[in-house]
Symmetry: C2
Subunit: 413 residues, 2 copies
């Protein structure tokens, strides 16, 4: 007997019929003797409908009340699943964030989980009740509803799994697992059997949208094994877990890309202490996340600073930077929002050299100019013109033999 | 400065635009220096949508989970009103049943309010915050959501007004107030300025659907003055309050009718102790409310028993009665679901005789046969063939001069 947390996304609970399918899957797991906790998203489209209502009322809705509004989506889906399971003769009970409680800070619409009470869930599980938890929502220390941000149900599920020390946290979605790259770009992309937390973090934050990044951080911190799989079939998916030796033998695990960033360059910045701080403080105050930052070697006491920001914050960031550029004595500001960041990710890089230079060579062979480079222990990212995105991903996928990897592994059984 | 509770029904908050109108009305009351607590229903159609979802999932949805589902409707509307008021620069805060708390028993989908915490609301009001409360919902002693039944938001509003000792509980709806009868049947029907709790109870329970009957009982118990008025204009509506001398001078205040009942007769029942109990116990166990009960004088040791039940319970009631009729030695069961109950209501009846006989005479003059009669201190009800409903209401309205009443009162100013 295991304690299994299962999370189903919006597509998986998108209709009464699909909720019945979820109930069937939950029932099976329960009937196999497992204790089952289900975490649900809102029915597909429902959160968007609620968000649109809020913005129809006011362009910048009050955040506390916004959370009261949008958290109803999950309340509807958990009630419907509980009704379904009870109609099938099972003990099932829905729990809202405040009923568990899932205690968060008060950063409405992007709250972080501080604590999860496990008492009520454990009591229900010991009574052979199927526990159904509303994803995406918690309650702050003053009893206000707080939501975790888009995709927050993944985080809810992993946090509940951590609090209960669950054996596995199954994240059901509409894809079979995590792929070596986006199969819409490279049809030969293969499903990854196992991936380390760190690799998944790089993949997720770099644009592979299977799992919310915070849920992976949470899983890493508490050692929760995540199993990403499809709710439409019984195929095994991808295990996201602690690094093991198998993983290290693979040089590159996957290739991700992101078109969601824009680039800003500040030209001719005087090379003296405090300048970077003057430049980035206003962005930080405006809650704009700066991703890559590149500063060239100083020439004649001046340097160029280039960085990327989320495309959605591009205009705001640009106007802030233009405001401060004069004050710090820069000679100009350049910008480009038609860029793409291509990344290769793999824990195997740590013990192998030459991965980065192979990447540069492959791109150069196709005549793709690299605008920015950034590296970490387990990834190399290059910013290129957005029009080269698909080409770059395809040639890299081929060069690092990702399409063939699965076959190799199977042949070693 | 007064403490005003305002309740807006589903039609009044049926769209973003209408919620803006509500906000404008709330703002005005607030700006006049009053403390304002707003209680809202779900947006028109929303509760029906949620109920349909529940029944699409299962015909007899689990009641606890049904409440989790349907209570989201009010959560949406209070959040939207709070967003609107805050966008206008007002301090406004929404409260769900569990946040106040509005503590109920655990009779899901028809819960009764046991207790309302006034601390959080008072704190907010003292801070000049507009308090927005979700109608229809509360929380039981175990923290489960419990709803009060259809129209329960009226009861929420009156209960909150009672807990806060509010100066008035304004119930905003899509009609101008309580009329002497249904204006769709009698265009000359006039708005009643003041009506006593008891009259309103008779009117409401007899089919005038302006206020939920439980809210009037609550108001009577705690002496809450209810002002029923329209959210679409500034006309004064109807005050529902303690009886005063003005009211007694009016013989009949209003005429109500109900087509929502059906009649069952048990023929040839042995006239001995325990028979009525044997007959009605199964109905009570099945939660079927029996309204009028008439037992004729015994003839030859046998009697006929006739009673009415809600039309929605008619088939169930009939089969239960047919099951028990043989056991108690009855000779047969008759039934009719094409009946209508016409009632005249007025506290003035207490001190005047001849009201009932005038009613019988008026109906007889039109050739309308009376099938059942029941009376209380302040009302007389007659069951007639449903096809005579409108005719009966019209002739009674004329006979008791209700169309002229308003004119009379105005001429005495």
């Amino acid at each position: 007997m295991a304690l299994v947390v299962q999370k189903y996304g919006g597509t998986s609970v998108g209709s009464i019929e699909r909720i019945r399918n979820v109930a069937e899957r939950v029932r099976k797991t329960h009937d196999q003797g497992n204790q089952v906790v289900v975490v649900l998203s809102a029915m597909a489209g429902e959160t968007n409908r609620l968000v649109a209502l809020a913005h129809e009322m006011f362009e910048a809705p009050d955040e506390r009340e916004y959370d009261v509004l949008v958290s109803t989506g999950e309340q509807v889906s958990i009630a419907l699943l509980a009704i379904c399971l009870r109609s099938m003769g099972y003990q099932a009970k829905s729990f809202l964030g405040h009923q568990i409680p899932i205690v968060t800070d008060n950063a409405h619409s992007k709250a972080r989980i501080n604590r999860i009470g496990d008492k009520k869930i454990r009591e229900a599980l010991e009574d052979r009740t199927i526990v159904i938890v509303a994803g995406f929502q918690g309650v702050d220390h003053d009893g206000n509803i707080a939501t975790l941000g888009r995709g927050g149900s993944d985080t809810s599920a992993v946090a509940v799994a951590a609090a209960l020390k669950a054996d596995v946290c199954e994240i059901y979605t509409d894809v079979d697992g995590v792929y070596t790259t986006d199969p819409r770009v490279v049809p030969e992309a293969t499903k990854i059997e196992k991936i380390s937390y760190d690799e998944m973090l790089e993949m997720a934050s770099l644009g592979a949208k299977v799992l919310q990044i915070r849920s992976v951080e949470f899983a890493k911190k508490y050692g929760v094994v995540i199993h990403v799989r499809s709710s439409f079939n019984d195929n095994p998916g991808t295990l996201v877990m602690k690094e093991d030796k198998d993983m290290e033998s693979v040089l590159v695990s996957g290739i991700s890309y992101s078109k969601d960033e824009a680039k800003i360059s500040v030209i001719g910045v005087p090379d003296k202490p405090g300048v970077a701080s003057q430049l980035f403080s206003p962005l930080s105050l405006a809650n704009i996340t700066v991703d890559m930052i590149i500063q060239n070697v100083s020439q004649g006491g001046h340097t160029d600073l280039t960085f990327t920001v989320p495309k959605s914050d591009f205009k705001k960031a640009l106007s802030l930077v233009e405001g401060v550029a004069g004050k710090i004595g820069a000679t100009g500001v350049d910008s480009d929002d038609h860029i793409s960041k291509i990344s290769i990710v793999g824990v195997g890089m740590r013990s192998h050299s030459g991965i980065a230079s192979k990447m540069f060579q492959v791109l150069a062979d196709e005549g793709i100019n690299i605008q920015m480079i950034s590296t970490s222990e387990i990834k190399v990212s290059c910013v290129v013109d957005a029009k080269y995105t698909e080409l770059a991903v395809r040639v890299l996928h081929e060069a690092f033999e990702l399409a063939k990897k699965d076959v190799k592994m199977e042949s070693s059984f």
